[in-house]
């Protein structure tokens, strides 16, 4: 009894330490390098894993409790949304194309994050980071699943999402997000953490997640909004992990600084190129806009990110060099992207359209230096052509950047009427790039980026036609065959919004709700 009374209560930090690090031991029957084989080859030096500061202290009992509570609420809302035909509450059916982009471009990445953090959560010799990574791993499968479950109902009523897993592995523009995450997952565990934990989750998350979630909120999409907000509380943990990782690595050894700097430069650019899709979503696909891409970049990267990099300056880390070019592109990015998708609407799994007059006005007010001069005339021309029955769908294939895999549609920094091309000769081949930054990434690791599965090359090599099709047969229609390979239904999943089944159905279903039958 006395012993019990004298027992000293552990402080929170000590208690968490015995619940995690205290479980670990130094092995003697097997060598450390055999148990943790992936931790040395990147050249990052860690002298003392005990210096790791746990970014949050969550034991499993508390984790289950909090998360189950969140799941209960989330699924109750999803159920209600589904039962009440909540999809008919969105501003207009064009909005649903943002959902298609999300489920086929982003949700599969949540899954890869889950596997990637399981890998990192096994790979580090430090017990602190292992536990933190595993918690993120299980959170990420949550994100993947809650997104699929929320969007499942949209898939029942609208086109383009019906085979999103299949599409993610094949459709040309989806190789942009896919190759981004494949790149991170195939990097070493430290680079993965800098790429995803820090650059993606900490620096860029507000430019990815927030636009979709607030876009959903503005456009009456309760389902997407709810999983978004529910995931935000997990994100808070992920962000603190991302920041702790970077500080920990930098504090361990000065030789780590240049390696980390290269990774930050690379992953900021890689992430930014993926955000091209978000930029056009914000400026063109939301019937009710939240803010422009340019405003978002200025607030979330230039202001918030600027403060962050000022903070990291004490470690010798500087603002990624690409920030200068991104600033020059911010007046153009979303317009160039939307123009591209407008052209390639026959080969995509969502609809595109030309902005109406009010929307053009909004764009002009948000982009006073570029819209009226460069993009409005283009759109006016396309609108006129469409009115005459000449809605243009490009049927030729674009050249892709070897690294970011975006068609080479971007313009020279500071010269918005001149397309930017870069190339490198490597071994016996020529490789093409959208920018100096993608080119630099290639030159640092050519062996990696020559492996890229470039959708256009693959189509030309005949690898993207359904089995049994014969490209030499008379009347062979390559685009039609590629669509079959993508499992996209021509006339339903693709083409202009104006002529889409989505538009027609949505109008009819909403009509039923507003009329007395």
């Amino acid at each position: 009894m006395d012993m019990q009374a004298a027992k000293k209560k552990l402080g929170l930090k000590e208690r968490y330490a015995v619940m995690t690090r205290g479980l670990d031991w130094t092995p003697s029957y097997q060598k450390m390098e055999d148990i943790y084989p992936y931790v040395a080859y990147e050249g990052i030096k860690i002298h003392d894993w005990d210096k790791w500061e746990d970014p949050f202290r969550l034991t499993m009992d508390a984790y289950w409790k909090y998360q189950a509570e969140k799941e209960r609420k989330l699924y109750a809302i999803i159920d209600a949304f589904n039962q009440n035909n909540g999809h008919l509450n969105v501003t207009d059916a064009r909005y649903i194309n943002a959902v298609k982009l999300f489920i086929s471009g982003i949700s599969p990445l949540e899954y890869v994050a889950h596997r990637g953090f399981a890998h990192a959560g096994r790979a580090f010799p430090g017990p602190g980071p292992r536990v933190a990574c595993l918690m993120q791993s299980i959170d990420e499968i949550r994100h993947a699943q809650t997104q699929v479950h929320s969007i499942s109902n949209y898939n029942k009523y609208y086109n383009g999402m019906h085979d999103f897993h299949h599409a993610h592995d094949r459709v040309w523009f989806l190789s942009v997000p896919k190759s981004f995450f494949d790149d991170a997952l195939t990097a070493g565990p430290f680079e993965f953490m800098v790429a995803i934990g820090f650059s993606f989750e900490y620096v860029l998350t507000n430019l990815l997640f927030v636009p979709f979630v607030s876009g959903a909120a503005y456009n009456g999409d309760m389902g997407t909004m709810t999983f978004g907000f529910s995931a935000q509380s997990d994100e808070a943990r992920h962000m603190t992990l991302g920041l702790e990782v970077i500080k920990f690595i930098l504090e361990q050894d000065p030789a780590n600084v240049p390696i980390v700097q290269r990774w930050i430069d690379k992953w900021t650019w890689r992430g930014y190129r993926v955000l091209t899709l978000v930029a056009m979503m914000m400026d063109y696909m939301l019937p009710k806009r939240t803010m422009s891409w340019k405003e978002a970049w200025e607030i979330y990267f230039e202001e918030n990110g600027g403060a962050l990099f000022k903070d990291l300056a004490r470690y010798g880390i500087t603002m990624p060099k690409c920030a200068g070019q991104i600033a020059l592109e911010k007046d153009h990015l979303s317009h160039q992207a939307w123009s591209t998708f407008y052209n390639y609407a026959a080969a995509a799994n969502f609809h595109t359209w030309m902005p109406d007059d009010d929307e053009m006005k909004w764009l002009a007010s948000k982009y006073p230096d570029s819209f009226d001069k460069l993009y409005r005339p283009r759109y006016r021309f396309w609108r006129e052509q469409a009115a005459k029955g000449n809605r243009f769908y490009s049927k030729t294939l674009p050249m892709l950047c070897q690294v970011c895999q975006i068609p080479m549609v971007f313009t020279e920094p500071g010269e918005p009427t001149k397309t930017c091309y870069r190339e490198v000769d490597y071994r016996d081949d020529k490789y093409h790039f959208c920018s100096d930054h993608c080119k630099k990434i290639f030159e640092d690791e050519p062996e990696k980026y020559t492996q890229a599965w470039l959708p256009v090359h693959q189509i030309y090599q005949g690898n993207c036609f359904p089995e049994g099709s014969d490209p030499t047969a008379e009347g062979f229609d390559p685009l039609a065959e590629v669509l079959k390979f993508y499992n996209l239904e021509h006339g339903r999943d693709n083409l202009d919004f104006e002529i889409s089944e989505d538009r027609k159905n949505f109008a009819e279903w909403r009509g039923q709700a507003t009329r007395n039958i």
Partner: protein, 331 residues
């Protein structure tokens, strides 16, 4: 204008995603387990080889000797997707918390006979390291296995094992103090009793075949350890000697084992039923790891069972063999 959308009755264009419809038929809605599991892992056109394992694709069927025509033949009988999993565990956690409260509030730990308390500390607390190894191993199976149907339950299992290591830590702190944790760790590192088991765990930490790792950890080691320690020693032998409060503190583990073995058995059964080749590989692994696990657990079980250790361990092995035969792998 407020529109009452509930009154609208519209016919859906489709019941679920195509990948699910291809598997279950297009005429019915899919469950959340199915939509959250089937084909979730990327299947094709990976862009780069892992720099940490250039001989394999990102997700690669060839990391294991087990061959499956379709890795989505595996089904978790509990149908756990994240939401179902966390809600189930939160409920068990409520019970565990109530049990800990009950024991703490009534000072039941102090009423334990010294002999029982010492036995429990000596036996249970080093097992937190075993659970920690199981956490790492299941993280590895999840990371390097193929197909979400097989890998998904492993991340849940990994987190469960972390939870178990933490419950065991709490038992140590309740019946003893931080010094008891240290003493148990020292025993784990140095005492002969524990060296066979520690070697077993460390040897599994270097296994590269994710399915063999699944067998060594979840099938063989835990398949003997849980029935031996939680069902036989704690719920039976020690309870009879006044150790019931301990059984309350480890109820989570007993219930958890009863639940998770359904998934483990289903996994073995599906892999074995796939081909004679799989069955042979599985039988080889299971026999090899079972024998090592039984030998490693014997000195540990002596802590509580003394002379009866051999007899009861043999009994547990026989039960284990029967269980495997039922799962399609007669040993």
């Amino acid at each position: 204008m407020q529109i009452d959308l509930r009154t609208v009755s519209i016919k859906p264009l489709r019941h679920t995603f195509d990948n699910i419809a291809r598997r279950i038929g297009a005429d019915k809605p899919a469950s959340r387990y199915q939509e959250g599991t089937l084909d979730m892992q990327q299947e094709a056109n990976y862009h780069y080889r892992p720099t940490w394992d250039p001989d394999h694709l990102i997700y690669d069927r060839d990391r294991t000797a087990i061959r499956m025509a379709d890795w989505y033949s595996f089904k978790d009988p509990r149908q756990y997707y994240y939401g179902a999993y966390t809600m189930a565990r939160a409920k068990q956690q409520d019970t565990a918390e109530a049990n800990f409260d009950f024991v703490e509030n009534r000072g039941l730990a102090a009423t334990l006979p010294d002999e029982i308390r010492d036995t429990v500390l000596a036996l249970l607390i080093p097992l937190r390291h075993v659970a920690w190894g199981a956490n790492m191993n299941n993280a590895a199976v999840c990371a390097y296995g193929y197909g979400t149907a097989f890998t998904q339950p492993c991340i849940y299992h990994a987190m469960d094992q972390l939870g178990i290591a933490q419950y065991l830590t709490r038992v140590g702190l309740l019946l003893g103090d931080v010094a008891s944790l240290d003493a148990a760790k020292q025993a784990w590192m140095e005492d002969d009793t524990w060296q066979g088991l520690r070697r077993y765990v460390e040897d599994t930490l270097v296994l590269r075949d994710p399915f063999e790792l699944f067998v060594a950890q979840n099938v063989a080691l835990d398949g003997l350890l849980y029935p031996l320690v939680y069902e036989t020693i704690i719920d039976d032998v020690l309870s009879a000697k006044g150790g019931t409060p301990v059984a309350m503190l480890t109820q989570f583990m007993t219930d958890w084992h009863a639940e998770t073995r359904k998934w483990i058995d289903a996994t073995v059964k599906t892999a074995a039923a796939e081909s004679a080749g799989n069955k042979t590989v599985l039988a080889d692994w299971i026999v090899q790891w079972r024998d090592r696990a039984a030998a490693a657990l014997l000195p540990v079980s002596r802590i509580a069972l003394g002379e009866r250790a051999d007899e009861l361990t043999t009994e547990i092995v026989q039960q284990f063999n029967a269980r495997m035969a039922k799962a399609g792998v007669p040993l």
